[in-house]
């Protein structure tokens, strides 16, 4: 019986003839922030969809939850995508409440939680705004609050900051670390930004393209809470170089 929160062993996925993922094996402990890094089209998003229960896998083992952290596939997944994908016709607070509505959670408690989460992501005071009144970075913060509102154990993020400008992205990275610490969730974070992966991850899983194969899986031993200073440390450079090497860029 695996004790890890996420246990993947030899996971394989094909779309017709096309082999999207071949033999991905790694474990994630509860409370980790795992960064999945790799080139575009390497099957990272597919892997995320398998974890979300949206796509079945064709081979290998996918096990979510452990005796200490039982996993309910309907209730315990929060998702953040590259685009904020807020509903234009709903105010920010109502956008955040969407998962709670779908799950039929108690209104009053959800409302309280949504307000608290908006505060957590730095959007207090924006509850009654419409998405178009917010900048891209702020919309993505709201999307993160939405992913947390039903208190899921696992948050899946698919290049959530990929569409933001570099400066906002740096800021959001720091924010995410703070939110992760406070919310205490297990996060799987997909990115093709190598330094972003090393900066955020407690563990980095490197995937190479076509089909996705796991090239590396290592613990990032950089101290928490992390600040931008971490990026100047020698260890940070070593980790990023290690990823670069796997991706054939060195």
């Amino acid at each position: 019986m695996p004790e890890s929160f996420i246990h993947l062993a030899g996971v394989r996925k094909t779309y017709g003839e096309h082999l999207a993922i071949s033999d991905v094996t790694f474990d994630v402990q509860a409370g980790e922030l795992v960064a999945l890094v790799g080139p575009s089209g390497c099957g990272k998003s597919t892997l995320l969809k398998i974890l979300a229960g949206l796509h079945p896998h064709d081979g290998g083992e996918v096990h979510l939850g452990s005796p200490t952290h039982p996993f309910d596939p309907a209730r315990d997944v929060g998702m953040v995508f590259q685009a904020p994908l807020l509903l234009k016709w709903r105010r920010i607070l109502d956008n955040v409440l969407l998962p709670a509505e779908i799950l039929g959670l108690k209104k009053k408690e959800s409302l309280e939680r949504a307000r608290h989460l908006l505060e957590l992501v730095g959007l207090a005071g924006y509850e009654a705004k419409y998405p178009y009144e917010l900048s891209g970075g702020m919309q993505q913060r709201a999307a993160i609050a939405r992913a947390l509102v039903h208190d899921p154990k696992l948050v899946l993020m698919d290049e959530p900051f990929g569409a933001l400008d570099a400066l906002t992205r740096e800021k959001m990275n720091l924010e995410l670390l703070r939110i992760w610490k406070e919310a205490g969730k297990t996060i799987v974070f997909v990115t093709h930004g190598i330094s972003e992966a090393v900066f955020l991850g407690t563990r980095v899983v490197v995937l190479t393209a076509g089909p996705a194969r796991m090239a590396d899986n290592f613990q990032v031993e950089l101290p928490h809470p992390r600040t931008l200073d971490v990026k100047t440390q020698e260890k940070f450079g070593e980790y990023t170089r290690r990823v670069y090497r796997h991706l054939g860029m060195e």
């Binding site: 969809k49 979300a52 229960g53 949206l54 596939p73 309907a74 209730r75 997944v77 998702m79 995508f81 685009a83 994908l85 509903l87 234009k88 016709w89 969407l98 998962p99 509505e101 779908i102 799950l103 419409y130 178009y132 039903h150």
Partner: protein, 252 residues
């Protein structure tokens, strides 16, 4: 004159100017009443005892609104069914685009053969002409919804109904309304053409009757009433859009 009140003022002014120009043209040009009656004889036509205006308005109104709401319900339902099955969409969509090319007015004589004449065939006429724009724009609106949003709901094991009411319907609403606006105008035309082709009641029927006696003021009045009914339907659609769709999400 950029303020809202200013623009409304100009719009009202334009309409008054048209009626005035109409009045002056008939008056100064000494145009005979049976060619073009002025505004006042047109209004007087309402007083003619045996035209049963109210009954005719009710009949035409039933045809327009009945056909229109049927078109709305079936158009949206079919478009939604297409999102459930790609095969269904691939099979029916090209067919519907072809059927859209059929001039619906040309179906009139057939509809009369199949359904006799009266309120039902004229409603079907209004329906057949209004359903396509509603169906096609709704299908487009549903297609434009980001697939990740559907993933989000599915990852929470949301039901198909939740998907429809929380994401698909509100997401496609701006498009539905744009189809509804086109459909509203067409439904009126459909009902009237139906009445021209075969009926024993309604404003279109009345127009054919008074044409024989050259009661042009009554024909003018009938056109005016038909236009007002169309404006009412269009106005309801517009008001609903204002109510339900946030400003930045509206589709022209």
């Amino acid at each position: 004159m950029n303020s809202k009140a200013g623009r409304i003022g100009l719009a009202v002014l334009a309409h008054i100017a048209l009626v005035l120009a109409w009045y002056l043209f008939v008056r100064l040009g000494d145009v005979p009443k049976f060619v073009m009656p002025g505004p006042i004889p047109t209004l007087e036509a309402l007083l003619a005892p045996n035209y049963s205006w109210w009954t005719n308005i009710a009949v035409t109104g039933t045809e327009i609104f009945g056909g229109y709401f049927l078109a709305l319900a079936i158009g949206v339902a079919l478009a939604l069914a297409f999102t459930w099955s790609k095969t269904l969409e691939a099979f029916f969509m090209p067919l519907l685009v072809s059927l859209n090319m059929v001039p619906k007015v040309a179906l009139g004589p057939l509809i009369i053969v199949w359904f006799k004449y009266g309120v039902l065939p004229n409603s079907i006429m209004a329906f057949s002409i209004a359903v396509f724009p509603i169906l096609l724009t709704t299908a487009r609106g549903l297609r434009e919804i980001e697939p990740e949003l559907l993933d989000l709901v599915r990852s929470l094991k949301g039901s198909r109904w939740q998907l429809f009411t929380k994401i698909q319907l509100p997401g496609a609403l701006p498009y539905i309304f744009s189809g509804m606006k086109v459909g509203a105008i067409l439904a009126v035309a459909g009902a009237i053409v139906g009445e021209f082709l075969g009926s024993d009641k309604g404003l279109g029927y009345l127009m054919l009757q008074v044409q024989v006696t050259l009661d042009t003021p009554a024909m003018f009045m009938a056109v005016l009433l038909i236009t007002l009914m169309g404006m009412m339907l269009y106005g309801i659609v517009l008001a609903l859009e204002r109510l339900l769709v946030p400003k930045d999400a509206r589709v022209a």
